[in-house]
């Protein structure tokens, strides 16, 4: 919906108005601020300039006073010095002497001119000969000013009386130049000094150029004039100091440019953005209203406008936006409700007209107000014939008054009644109906109408009778079949119990044999384990097994072997393997066998296998091996294993070219112990001796029991040098000899007697021989044995090396 034409034609955007007013405000603000800033800046400058000028005046007043005093003192000083020299007392030489005096004393640097006048005022001495200098002072004047006519230079003149001997008291005049140099030295940095005498510039701290300079008037210079002395004719000292600007021109330019910019920014951010936001929100409100006016719907565009209007604070605009949205929604909903109601009325009318069921509507007094065409078809009455009638006219008289009383009671209590009723048509034929009566209420809950639905149930009543007959027949059939099923079920229960019993027997048998079984079904990828298999693997029977879980239980060192065997089995090879598994930290040995079934293409169908716990068998095999290679008493390798190790050491010697050594040991003084205390104590000594021997050699060396009290120690991989190898073997042999020579404390208990400790001394005779790969084990042993006999021969508890020559 467009805005009214007259309004639209005059319409001006609120945001535009806001921008214009903002711009005008900003402009006025900037002008006011700039003007105020400029005024303040100028006032600050003026104040600073005045203060500085006042300071400068005070400073130069002080400096000029000092200068005057200094000049006066210098004049008196020179007077005193000249009088001291007494040069002036001799008119013949005074001039030359005084000139030399002034030259050496640096008079030229102090005065521009120095005159000495006699009492008649005649010049007796002039320091300089150039210029036109004379006494400018009046009677009784001790100082004054003199402007030299040829150069126009100004001088401060000081007069002092001076003693001239026979000539009496004369006068001396010192002329101090008020020149550029003086002002240059007086001027502080940035300050220009100009001496003005009788309104004419006579000297400047800037030099001759400065004499022109002072005529330039400028607001940037603060100028003050100061009388040199209090005398009327005294020159004026003009002090020019640049007005110290707080900011340079560049800074001012930047500042002048920046102030409006910054002001604009501040105003924009402080007010402008807020104002723009509000105008946008108001504009959005307008847009929302326009959108609703145009479409009469809560469109996404309207919602977007409402959201824009709501943005920001919860304020009046926000409230208006909420109200507009609510109003629009309510309007739309009401319209929809209206449309729905109309639609429903149309629908109900259609239903009423086209319904196959007979419908009758009465007013609250039970007078028929409407019937549908189906009613007219069923009863044969036209609508005009029944309007205003009581539905009682349709009663065939089969129902009793109590029936109707209950019906009306139900309608009043529940607003609803349903039941079977017999009515007659216009022709007087009675028909059964399923009738539903509902009461219709107004908003106040008062009954306004009753609506009755008639459903002809003549056909249904016939069908119900037929169904009843079929059901009775079926029930008879089911009863017969049930008896047969119960009989069959009894037989199946018996067979099932038998199967369960057989399976339990199988489990027991597997447990006895420690033989578990498993079955692999590829079709459903399941691995079935028997109870015994779970027990062997130490797993609970509810664990669902697979190949990976099985592999986890396999000993780490055997996993590869098992997996390779299984992969081979999958290729059709027999699966029969013994390996270790780890159950609760303990190692078990199992033997696994399997038979796998494949289809014609070689794909695995299923498999069945056994797992047998063979741990005990393996332990027995290990014990047998121990008995075959180790001495059962000392647990040392026996002669058989020694031969094997000796063979290995000779092979190693062949590879490394290093010597090995073999020691043949025989315990001295062993037999008396056996004879005295019996074989049990002798066995204890042999065990102790074996332990001492093991402690004396390296891990790679072999200590074997050769038989009785004879031991063999084999040292391998000693050195390529024979002498060094001999030395190493000797060191170890000595270590052994020393270890075995220590006393033995043997503790034994004889039947029911208390424990007893026997101390026994026992030494050893050791025969040593070196060997390499070129010899036979027998010859090596023989050489060591011979060397041992030599040791015995030489008094026992000895070590003897086999000597080839002997």
């Amino acid at each position: 919906m467009d805005w009214p034409f007259s309004l639209k034609s005059r319409r001006r955007s609120i945001s535009r108005q806001a921008v214009i007013r903002l711009a005008i405000s900003l402009g006025l603000f900037v002008i006011a601020l700039s003007y105020t800033s400029a005024l303040l800046y100028k006032m600050a400058l003026n104040k600073a300039a005045h203060e500085r000028a006042a300071d400068l005046v005070a400073f130069y007043q002080f400096r000029l006073t000092q200068l005057e005093r200094d000049w006066e003192l210098q004049t008196r000083d020179f007077k005193t010095r000249i009088e001291f020299t007494r040069y002036l007392e001799d008119p013949q030489t005074d001039s030359i002497n005084l000139r030399a005096f002034f030259t050496i004393q640096g008079g030229g640097a102090r005065f521009y001119q120095f005159l000495v006048l006699d009492k008649n005022g005649q010049t007796r001495f002039a320091m300089r000969k150039d210029g036109q200098f004379s006494n400018p002072l009046k009677q009784n004047q001790s100082n004054g000013w003199y402007r030299e006519p040829s150069t126009g230079k100004l001088y401060r003149v000081f007069l002092e009386p001076i003693w001239m001997g026979n000539s009496g008291v004369g006068k001396m005049l010192a002329f101090f130049p008020v020149d550029n140099a003086l002002l240059y030295q007086l001027a502080s940095p940035g300050v220009i000094l100009i001496a003005r005498y009788q309104n004419e510039s006579v000297a400047s701290s800037l030099g001759s150029e400065g004499l022109k300079h002072h005529t330039v008037k400028s607001e940037t210079i603060e100028r003050r004039e100061l009388p040199w002395t209090n005398e009327l004719e005294a020159p004026k000292l003009e002090i020019e100091a640049p007005v110290k600007t707080i900011f340079s021109t560049l800074e001012l330019s930047i500042g002048a440019g920046m102030i409006p910019f910054v002001d604009a920014l501040i105003l924009w951010f402080a007010l402008g953005t807020w104002l723009m936001l509000q105008t946008r929100r108001i504009k959005a409100l307008g847009g929302a209203v326009a959108e609703f006016s145009q479409h009469q719907e809560v469109t996404s565009s309207l919602k977007q406008n409402i959201r824009q209007a709501q943005a920001g604070n919860v304020d009046e605009i926000h409230d208006v936006a909420v109200a507009i949205e609510s109003l629009a929604q309510q309007t739309v909903e009401q319209r929809l409700q209206h449309v729905r109601e109309e639609e429903q009325i149309r629908l109900w009318s259609s239903v009423f007209q086209s319904s196959a069921e007979s419908i009758i509507i009465t007013d609250r007094d039970n007078k028929i107000v409407a019937v549908n065409p189906a009613f007219q078809r069923r009863t044969g009455y036209l609508q005009e014939e029944v309007l205003g009638q009581n539905p009682r006219m349709l009663s065939c008289g089969r129902e009793q008054p109590e029936f109707y009383a209950a019906m009306w009671q139900s309608i009043k209590a529940n607003g609803f009644w349903q039941g079977e009723i017999w009515d007659s048509d216009k022709a007087g034929t009675s028909h059964p109906y399923l009738m539903t009566i509902s009461s219709v209420h107004d908003d106040a809950g008062e009954i306004t109408h009753y609506v009755g639905y008639y459903t002809d149930i003549s056909e249904r009543m016939r069908s119900d009778e037929e169904l009843k007959q079929h059901r009775d027949h079926l029930e008879e059939l089911v009863a017969g079949r049930t008896l047969a099923l119960e009989d069959a079920n009894q037989k199946l229960t018996l067979q099932s119990n038998l199967l369960i019993s057989r399976e339990a027997d199988l489990h027991r048998a597997q447990a006895v044999a420690k033989l578990g079984s498993w079955r692999l079904d590829v079709s459903n990828n399941s691995l079935y384990w028997s109870d015994e298999t779970y027990r062997i693997f130490g797993l609970p029977t509810d664990v669902r097994m697979n190949y990976e879980l099985f592999l986890l239980a396999v000993h780490e060192d055997d996993k590869m072997q098992v997996d390779q065997a299984w992969q081979a089995a999958l290729q059709g090879k027999p699966y029969d393997i013994e390996h270790r598994i780890v159950v609760a930290g303990k190692i078990k040995w199992v033997r696994e066998q399997a038979e796998l079934m494949f289809d014609e293409k070689g794909n695995l169908l299923d498999g069945i296998g056994t797992v047998q716990d063979i741990t005990e068998k393996k332990q027995m095999e290990e014990e047998v091996r121990q008995l075959a290679f180790y001495d059962s008493l000392t647990k040392l390798p026996n002669r058989r294993l020694l031969d094997d190790r000796l063979g290995q050491a000779m092979d190693a010697s062949k590879r490394s070219d290093c010597y090995g050594a073999l020691m043949f040991l025989d315990l001295d003084n062993f037999k008396p112990l056996n004879d005295t205390y019996g074989h049990a104590l002798g066995d204890l000594l042999l065990i102790e001796a074996a332990e001492r021997l093991i402690s004396c050699v390296r891990e790679i060396d072999t200590v074997a029991r050769f038989g009785g009290d004879e031991f063999v120690v084999m040292l391998s991989n000693l050195d390529a040098d024979k002498a060094k190898s001999t030395s190493q073997a000797t060191i170890i042999a000595e270590k052994i000899r020393s270890a075995l020579a220590n006393p033995y404390f043997l503790i034994f208990k004889h039947r029911n007697e208390p424990e007893k400790t026997v101390q026994h001394h026992c030494t050893v005779s050791i025969g040593v021989t070196l060997f390499m790969h070129s010899e036979t084990p027998e010859s090596i042993l023989k050489k060591a044995d011979m060397a041992m006999f030599q040791a015995k021969e030489t008094g026992r508890n000895n070590i003897h090396h086999y000597d080839e020559l002997s």
Binding site: R99, A100, T103, I104, G108, Y184
Partner: protein, 357 residues
Amino acid sequence: MCQLGSGVCLNIKIYATGDGMLIKFTNFVISALLISLSHAALAEERIVVSVPGPKNISYLPIDLIQKLGFDRDEGVKLLLLHTGGGAVALNHLITRNADFAVAGLPAAMSLRANGGDVVAVAAVDDAPLFVLMVRISLKTKIKRISDLKGLVIGVNTSTKNSKTTSQQLAELLLKSGGVSLDQVRIVPAGQNWEEQSSLILSGAADAIMGDEPFASRLLAEKKVFFLANLSQPESVKNIPGTHFLHAALETRSDVIANTPQKVEKMARMLQRTLKWIASHTPEDLVAKLEMSNADERSALLVSLKKYRHAYSIDGKFSTRQLKETEIFFQSSSEGDSNAQALRLETMVDDRWIGRSH
């Protein structure tokens, strides 16, 4: 209203009525004449030159400028400020009493080394003319430099921050003769006849590192004898850089920057004067100076004839002579780090005069 460059304003009204065109024309001509005359008079530029002297032979060209009228040719009012030494002249320059100074270049270097703003713009001399003269009464005692121990020696007056060339030379001579500076008393002797002669005649000084023609005049009057003469190589053979450039025209950098026309005019006046001297006889020069004192005139003529090549012929700097000057200055200022670091080229501006080899 007419605003003139000098700042003086003349109110000129030209009436253009119908009758009296002649009167109007006459008024116009007179007004124009007045303007031009006033402008000429007011435009006369004032140049102040501080220079040792007067009538010191080393600085005579400056005295001659006015006599030759070259200042008027340039529209310049030349004011000479005579001082007792180059250092004092330089002090007048840096304290703004003068626009230019004519002083010994070594003295100017001494000032520059002490922070003074001084720039050399033209050469005045060609040969340094200094004479170490001794009172005649000491002739029997003083035979060589080493005999000066215990005496009073006068030199051109130095200042606090600049040592005159004369003093630098005297110190070098004394050192070369084995006399240390604490074995003599050095006093200022000025740089004109009155000062130098008075020191000798009064006995205030026993010897002076003096200038010509005063030394020759005192010699002629038998008041002194010469112990060393810079123009005689055998007497200064142990002094390095004895062919240094003595008198030169110097100014400040602000004068160059603010009033370059002044420098241009001053350099041109000096150059013309030097060329005049080179093309005239000593007699012409002395006559031009219009000296009233006969003795003074005579002494100057003797000196000018004696030192025929005392002056630069064109004011150009000589690279060789600048090198000699630097050597002399470095030798005379041993132990002074600022002086040793100073390079003469940094204070020479030859744009107006030029340079020769």
